[in-house]
């Protein structure tokens, strides 16, 4: 069943670990988290080790990513938001590199697991809530009461604001998860067409050209999606952090 499009999301235990009845095994997912972090760290570390005044190619890629995220955060959360820069940058790099690694055939996609994207989203929302209350106390709750709203509709608006706030971690995590999942399933299904059609002889080989072209095209699209979803995740993180920094709208 090599063509099963769901198979690529299976978690396989590599080193079984169980603590108090809870399964904490080192799995292929864990291995690819380690690989993601190692690849991203190694690239960022090695490319910037020269500290060249005139950057090399790799160094300018790292600097571009730095300035890209920095300007994104500064634009949406202002200079006060820059204290979250390491968080946003690591989130972006982690999601981006995990997405890219997932595009390599036979590699596991860390971000195609809802629990991973949900944990990352909760990290963001948790940071927003904790920092918001630490910095503004109960004033943080002004986030749910937009200024300039007539008193009559305030209860309705507050209800809407609360629902929208609570749906943030869900939309943030499901967006990334669903994009990566759907992309990989589509890719696998079209690639599966190629193998199963070409097993049918000459006509099948001729017929498999179309899904082959589709597979190539979707692979290209998936590279775009890999970047785009990381970007969207980072942008939304910046906007949510802005709420923590400036809750009064």
């Amino acid at each position: 069943m090599a063509t099963d499009p769901i198979h690529q999301f299976q978690i396989a235990k590599w080193i079984p670990i169980e603590v108090g009845g809870v399964d904490l095994s080192f799995t292929n997912a864990s291995a690819f988290m380690v690989a993601t972090v190692a690849a991203a760290s190694a690239f960022l570390f090695l490319s910037t080790s020269n500290r060249g005044l005139v950057p090399s190619r790799a160094q300018s890629v790292a600097e571009m990513a730095y300035e890209f995220i920095a300007s994104m955060l500064r634009d949406s959360a202002g200079n006060h938001g820059m204290k979250f820069f390491p968080l946003v940058f690591s989130l972006f790099m982690f999601v981006f590199v995990a997405n890219l690694l997932g595009l390599v055939p036979y590699f596991f996609t860390v971000t195609s697991q809802i629990i991973v994207t949900f944990a990352l989203a909760m990290l963001v929302i948790g940071t927003v809530i904790v920092y918001g209350f630490m910095k503004h106390g109960l004033g943080f709750l002004k986030l749910f009461v937009p200024s300039g709203v007539p008193a009559v509709v305030v209860p309705l608006v507050v209800a809407i604001e609360i629902v929208s706030f609570l749906s943030r971690p869900i939309s943030l995590s499901v967006r990334l998860f669903a994009n990566m999942l759907a992309g990989h399933i589509t890719l696998k299904v079209f690639a599966g067409f190629v193998t199963s059609l070409s097993a049918l002889g000459a006509v099948g080989v001729a017929g498999s050209i179309l899904p082959l072209i589709m597979t190539v095209a979707i692979t290209g699209l998936e590279f775009l999606v890999a970047f785009l979803q990381a970007y969207v995740f980072a942008v939304l993180t910046c906007m949510y952090l802005n709420d923590a920094v400036h809750p009064g709208h």
Binding site: D23, T48, A62, S90
Partner: protein, 194 residues
Amino acid sequence: MFVAPAFAQDAAQPAIGETHSETGIVEEGAHGGIFPPFDSSTYASQVLWLAITFGLFYLFLKRVVLPRIGGTLEVRHDRIASDLDQASRLKEEADAAVAAYEQELAEARRKSAAIAQEARDNAKAQAEADRRAITETLDAKLGEAETRIEEIKRIALADVDNIAEETAAEIVQQLTGNDVSKATVTAAVKAVSQ
């Protein structure tokens, strides 16, 4: 589509496995046919390892990488700013040098014009003086020559009277055979010539 090994596998986990084995999707050794991302038995391990790896990643970036990139960018920024400063300072210096040069050039031009003018005036005065000297010399010589001509003329005219008298006396003697007194001849000649 009823695959024997798959069914045997699913028999151990009846409730969920049953439906999936009929579609033939479930692979041997799969987690009882639950769609893997929704298999909550893997959540604890994934969250733990995510926390470990992402936590280390975050710390590594925050402590090592980001200060390094930020430092590099800042150094470059400062360097570019100082280079620009230096460039503008050098430009100012160059502008000042150009202005000084222009000024000296104008000065030199003015000086050279003055020198040329002076030389021209001197030459003109010299030429004028020479011309005047020569004219005077020529005038003197002219006067001298005129005087001499006057003298010669006067002598010549005096001689003419004598010759006329002698000739007249001779002619009269030849014609008449008589001597004529000198005084008569002189008077006659004088009367004719006047």
